[in-house]
């Protein structure tokens, strides 16, 4: 189609060659083009985190990411989470600790946790890290601040923290 841009996208290990309207977000590309509806649209304005996916390993809001910018990049979504050891652990911990109610924010929460744990392993600080000169322990305050980009209106926050504590302790 006119003005469309060809891109190559690797999603959950699978290669896709697509021709996209440059207006299409990564989120809409996943949902409407690739049928991967596990990733949710909560606000479409980067204000809720429901659309969080891993882009080249980092957690991002797919609703604010133009899909054409992702040419040649790797995307991991909730649909591939069970294939990953840590992902499966987080999923199980969500069941154990009742880390969700309606389930709508859950995909984004879980992808965000994977990204968050990687950031923490790298020693990245957060706004509540007291001493910027050294890596922060992943205590409750750190978990809460680092997960503040994923809103949950049902209020499953306690369960999510409990799930992260469990996974992080392993």
């Amino acid at each position: 189609m006119n003005g469309h841009i060809p891109i190559h996208l690797n999603v959950n290990g699978q290669a896709h060659d697509l021709s996209l309207d440059p207006r299409t977000t990564l989120l809409d590309c996943l949902r409407e083009r690739l049928g991967l509806t596990g990733t949710k649209k909560g606000c479409d304005q980067g204000a809720c985190g429901a659309c969080t996916v891993l882009l080249d390993g980092e957690r991002v809001n797919s609703c604010l990411t133009p899909a054409v910018q992702c040419d040649g990049m790797e995307v991991v979504t909730i649909e591939a989470m069970a294939d990953d050891e840590l992902g499966a652990q987080v999923q199980q911990a969500f069941l154990t600790h009742d880390g969700f109610q309606c389930g709508y924010c859950t995909s984004g929460q879980i992808c965000s946790i994977i990204g968050m744990l990687a950031e923490h392993r790298e020693g990245r600080p957060s706004a509540v890290t007291e001493d910027l000169a050294r890596p922060a322990p992943l205590n409750d305050a750190e978990i809460r601040e680092r997960m503040a980009g994923n809103l949950c209106r049902c209020g499953a926050y306690n369960g999510i923290v409990a799930a992260i504590r469990e996974v992080a302790a392993v």
């Binding site: 985190g49 957690r59 990411t65 133009p66 054409v68 910018q69 990245r124 503040a148 980009g149 994923n150």
Partner: protein, 323 residues
């Protein structure tokens, strides 16, 4: 969102060259621009994707400072060991902004150029001089709890939403630009403009110019921090924030920097307050006076007078804690 032509620039020269052919929007992290395009507040016909330009490094400068590439991600800058050790105020400011996901995408250059979050600016049905010059300002007589108390005008009372820029202002950073007419550098404190009668002109950036990097000057070890008051614990724009640097020797203040966020269309340096402090004794009276001075020219709107008192208290307390 309007249709637009999308071009991916492979080098800085190409990005600048494309801009010389006609109006373009430079797309980096997209976290602000793409959102505004969806709202059709921004309506570029051509978008030049600069996200793959080699501008994401953080390099040491010969003078002992640091150069932040315009495409360095907010998260990357905040996590950089040199920033954390030498410019903790900047790391703190970045970490207080947005959410982790947004910080993974948002860039230094994009953060500098992000536009106000005034909801009247976002709402195409509302009058906004920034969006449509001459249309009027619905915020002036509307709901303006989040708006400016300093440096505003009859035409616009919007605030700049950045946390990062507040720290950069306190640190006397320099913005490096390149454009059709060559390279130039602008102090961060001169980079953003107050609204005056032309609120649509927000920075000194010329047509086709590109932010390439931001230089942090070398700083001797100075105590400093960034504090932010907002309506919830995280993931919210500032009601008032402050980047404060303070150094004293034998009870006398030798260095003082105060920059405020959430109060003006640009990061607001409180020069007069800094002057009061420099050479003064480190005591509460000096801090009180400086805090008063920092907001001396403030003019409240109907719903935001509290920001004056809040800024005062935030400055006073931060000075006390740093001393």
């Amino acid at each position: 969102m309007r249709e637009f032509a999308y071009v991916r620039a492979s080098g800085v020269a190409e990005a600048v060259g494309l801009a010389a052919e006609g109006p373009v929007a430079h797309l980096a992290g997209g976290t602000n621009l793409f959102d505004l395009m969806r709202e059709e507040v921004e309506r570029p016909e051509r978008v030049v994707d600069i996200s793959r330009l080699p501008l994401s490094a953080i390099d040491d400068l010969p003078d002992g400072g640091l150069r932040l590439g315009a495409l360095a991600r907010n998260a990357q800058v905040a996590a950089d060991d040199r920033i954390r050790r030498r410019y903790p105020v900047l790391a703190r400011a970045l970490l207080n902004g947005a959410s982790p996901q947004l910080r993974n995408r948002a860039t230094v250059g994009g953060n500098l150029l992000q536009r106000t979050r005034c909801r009247y600016f976002y709402d195409l049905g509302a009058a906004c001089n920034k969006r449509s010059p001459g249309a009027g300002c619905d915020a002036l007589g509307g709901l303006n709890r989040g708006h400016a108390i300093l440096g505003a005008s009859e035409s616009c009372v919007a605030v700049h939403p950045s946390d990062m820029c507040v720290a950069l202002a306190a640190l006397d950073a320099t913005v490096n630009l390149t454009g059709p007419e060559g390279d130039r550098s602008v102090p961060i404190t001169d980079f953003h403009l107050l609204p005056g009668a032309t609120p649509q002109v927000e920075t000194v950036l010329r047509d086709g110019e590109l932010v390439t990097s931001v230089d942090l000057p070398p700083w001797p070890p100075v105590r400093g921090t960034y504090v932010k008051v907002r309506d919830r614990a995280s993931y919210a724009f500032a009601l008032v924030s402050a980047a404060v640097l303070l150094e004293a020797q034998e009870g006398t203040i030798t260095v003082a920097r105060i920059a405020l966020g959430g109060v003006a269309a640009k990061p607001w340096r409180a020069y007069a307050a800094e002057e009061l402090l420099t050479g003064a004794a480190t005591n509460e009276q000096a801090f009180d006076e400086a805090a008063q001075e920092a907001v001396a020219g403030a003019r409240p709107l109907r719903h935001n007078a509290f920001k004056i008192e809040l800024a005062r208290r935030l400055i006073r307390r931060t000075l006390v804690e740093l001393s």
